[in-house]
Symmetry: D2
Subunit: 344 residues, 4 copies
Amino acid sequence: MIVVMKADASLEQVEAIKSRISEEGLRPSTVEGSERTIVGVLGSITRDHETALERMPGVLQILRVSRPYKLASREFHPEDTVVQVGEVRVGGGDLAVMAGPCSVESKEQVVKTALAVKTAGANMLRGGAFKPRTSPYSFRGLGVEGLEYLAAAREETGLPVITEVMTVEDLPAVSEFSDVVQVGARNMQNFNLLDAVGQQSKPVMVKRGLSATIEEWLLAAEYILNQGNPNVILCERGIRTFETATRNTLDISAVPLVQKLSHLPIVCDPSHGTGKWYLVQAMAAASVAAGADGLMVEVHPDPDHAKSDGAQSLTFENFGLLMDQVRALSKVVASDGPVGARAQ
Amino acid sequence: MIVVMKADASLEQVEAIKSRISEEGLRPSTVEGSERTIVGVLGSITRDHETALERMPGVLQILRVSRPYKLASREFHPEDTVVQVGEVRVGGGDLAVMAGPCSVESKEQVVKTALAVKTAGANMLRGGAFKPRTSPYSFRGLGVEGLEYLAAAREETGLPVITEVMTVEDLPAVSEFSDVVQVGARNMQNFNLLDAVGQQSKPVMVKRGLSATIEEWLLAAEYILNQGNPNVILCERGIRTFETATRNTLDISAVPLVQKLSHLPIVCDPSHGTGKWYLVQAMAAASVAAGADGLMVEVHPDPDHAKSDGAQSLTFENFGLLMDQVRALSKVVASDGPVGARAQ
Amino acid sequence: MIVVMKADASLEQVEAIKSRISEEGLRPSTVEGSERTIVGVLGSITRDHETALERMPGVLQILRVSRPYKLASREFHPEDTVVQVGEVRVGGGDLAVMAGPCSVESKEQVVKTALAVKTAGANMLRGGAFKPRTSPYSFRGLGVEGLEYLAAAREETGLPVITEVMTVEDLPAVSEFSDVVQVGARNMQNFNLLDAVGQQSKPVMVKRGLSATIEEWLLAAEYILNQGNPNVILCERGIRTFETATRNTLDISAVPLVQKLSHLPIVCDPSHGTGKWYLVQAMAAASVAAGADGLMVEVHPDPDHAKSDGAQSLTFENFGLLMDQVRALSKVVASDGPVGARAQ
Amino acid sequence: MIVVMKADASLEQVEAIKSRISEEGLRPSTVEGSERTIVGVLGSITRDHETALERMPGVLQILRVSRPYKLASREFHPEDTVVQVGEVRVGGGDLAVMAGPCSVESKEQVVKTALAVKTAGANMLRGGAFKPRTSPYSFRGLGVEGLEYLAAAREETGLPVITEVMTVEDLPAVSEFSDVVQVGARNMQNFNLLDAVGQQSKPVMVKRGLSATIEEWLLAAEYILNQGNPNVILCERGIRTFETATRNTLDISAVPLVQKLSHLPIVCDPSHGTGKWYLVQAMAAASVAAGADGLMVEVHPDPDHAKSDGAQSLTFENFGLLMDQVRALSKVVASDGPVGARAQ
């Protein structure tokens, strides 16, 4: 941390800062410029230290130096993390494709979809049993019944299952039935839930919050890692911006940036990222070309009659076209070896 | 809902839309323009209907007509709701001022602060026992012990207490100890928590999510109202924008806009809304002038040593200055009678 | 400027940084922490220095210390600037109220409006002769003819006139006819126009760009000050956010923040800031309570038939109500003396 | 346009709306629902009509049906536009790669860079002679001298040249020396400049404004098309969001979305879109995979000593790596034939 003093800060004010820093068990180091004094702070600094110093007299601003996450950072863990889910490797050069319906609606629907996406090349099944909905009047999912249908579809196809958990109470059931536990965008800062998924043993996928910075997102991962669960996958699913022509703005630059800052694998969800089925293939392609470790895509046997998110769901046929293109692109990206951020 | 057809939509496509609408138990009504056909839809429409129709062939776009919230809307409940908290009325022309520390740190700290803010004119005590923190390494609150200190401060001062609940599990304790249960910004779309606070009897204050639209915020209130709890207070606490000079951007226009769209009372939190103590008084004044039904302000006996949010906390002295100004402004606003949006 | 090295930066990399700094005529000052090395940079630093150092090997990040604007900053000019426009003082505790139609439509319209707003208490006349319009098919203003009508209204009422200039070519005419030259939000970073208005003698009001940070806005003012024109007024007119219920989000916190960072006066435009006439009075009141040095408000004799921005224009009657309230609030604010940011 | 009446609107209010519509030369068409009345409006509707009706008594809201741009829309011009620049085709399946330095600094620098990017596979040369800079103290370009150096580099390499024009006054020179005239992001709503570039004969590339919606961007293109210049290229260069880890957020979904809404070619600028050289290759790859018609990339012989934007400029070597990958991806995309949005 750096404390930047005002041009007209008094000697007393600088001394007070230095005393306060020492009082906190930290070590001050002063640089006197021609225009102003700067005090470097060494030691184990917390955010609370920063805000405390920020309001002392004579202080112009506080500059942070260290990143606030440690276990999630590449500085402290240089090697890529590969999360093993059954036979699927998330990270490490493979492409994990999680596909399936937004909501589990019936056993038949989810089994049928699972067979179709497997044939097209997906290697994981997604499906929502517990659904977060903006309106209290929308369909909120089948709950445990939905989990059972997902398990049935896994039995039929061998595809591992990823599904969302919304509350600590539902976690035992979700953790038992699924292969990867998903924390949704609206729960990215539900800190008790983050603690809880960090204490169970299944891998966890954390979606980026609608207005979460990359740093806040990595701190959410840090919560889970800090509880002892090392198998964390990140999922970019679009951020909220001023643009209303798409449901969200898929921030694909998060892929190479996260790969530079962190060792955790990152996948993209172009379905929620755009909200429009006719943009999904192009954005899936873009994600893979940018180096994403996987995709999460909504597929439905009959999107026109889907109970949720029909507008962003692909038909089986369109998902097949997507997979054909994505496979070809993936080969190109893989053959180039590490580039850009990772190669740095 | 209005279905706007493409200029080149075929007669068959228009017919398919109309059939589909009827199939859903709704009623279509067609307007044929010179350039394109428009199909109005009558009946009880859900968001899921919209997304289903949006992807049918020949459709250019879907326009929503009805607002998705009902119980929270002024159209359906024209009179202002006044939430009674002990002797304090939130809404209806009075000014509720909730003040106190960000975190409850000790019994002495919270009692001392309660006495000071009461003297200055606050009529409710705020204080966090369960704290949502971006980093897992920050202070996360005293929990139930903190609730007990708040209760002690209430005993000492007579001030009703408002405090945040973060999980369904903590709700019984929070509901027992506090007079108003607060749902924080990060939990505005924690739908299970919204259901749960709707099922208990204490009034609930819902903070606006960092990137929540007014509509999504009113839908969060709708969740609570829909469970049978009519005593909902809204709290504008700043939204996330591109501007980084302030912690958030306090959207004061939410005050008159919410008062036009809804019957629920709305208060402002200039502490979180700015993140800088030296901006709090000006923004408190602005909130009251805009017609806010109350304020929530962070006050600490020694902000430099606060365990959280010191940079945005006021000293007792500065809070006294704020109250002096706010009282005077409040009188001017009250004497004018209803203006602007409410008077429309 | 501070150069933060990576934890694993080599000694050679640190030395290369220091050499490069010296090569640029600056002076390095190293602080070696337990975890990483930090290099302070002293001297006359530009943004280009920052970007050059940012990409050198071993660098984690660059932290800026100095603010990039000087003439506009309060550090370098502690006293409030008061811009004198005829008998009106913008800044220094007075309240400047600029009111009038969005577009000048006819001589009768503008004179009638000028008389009405003067009666209600406005002390400056606004009106657009050159209009920036999002669509090429919208009314783009009467041009020089409009300037003449504004001059006629000034003659009739004595109110000084403020009007927008869109291009360097139009500047001589606008500068001749008006008392204050306005640079619109869309031109806030039209740097040639900023230079040009800095070279003429009339005061200049610079509206904040739709997505301009406070820092970029003060740099726009710096362009003008740097050309020798000291009479710059800033106008907050709403920023673009994710919220679509209002046309823009009026960032009232810009008022106390600008007053802390700069000596220039700042006014608010609640008409563009909200886009809804029924929100204008509340936001005008909020602006004044926050300490704004003035207001800019759109008023039209018949908003239903206005050629532009009718939805956000006030009738004469509603403007009168606004002025009554604003006057009363202004007295309260003035009697309190400087508070908050300015008093710091 | 659709006028949605309030639930409690009176018959008189509905009649007044209908009269007003007729008065404007438009045709009303009423749909009476169980809950409220809706009035469709047929005819040649402008934005000004919308705002006028919005404020009439009894109106809940106005819904727009038609898109406000016509010449730029695919509805009115179904075939892809291909802009021919010398032998380069922008649009129509080819990949246009515009590369070169941010600023032209010397003849040697620009010629050397032109040779290098041509060798790597670029087919157009970019370089700034007139530079928009946030600070008045930054390097603002060589002006006409810079244009001459670009022309010299074209002579040497045969690469057509694209360069930015900032003002109407500079346009004759820029139009004469360059092969494509660029309108920068900060000038996307400089309407006089848009008119002027629409009146000259060289192709024009319009960068998306920092906070411009897709609709506003297409309206900027409409200005140019409306003046008679059909050769307009769009360039996505990142939008401003809350995320600060990147300079901007490159909105790659703009590529398939613009291709659906409009017939104009669209290219991406990953250099400005990210602001970090180490993210450029991944985002260039993503853009091409999403179907972009081209790329604009900053390349510098010695980015560490660039006079502007060094942090986002590629070395010759890194640009070569980028081109290798992009070429391979482009082949995959082309072989798939039209997909997603375009195929709809």
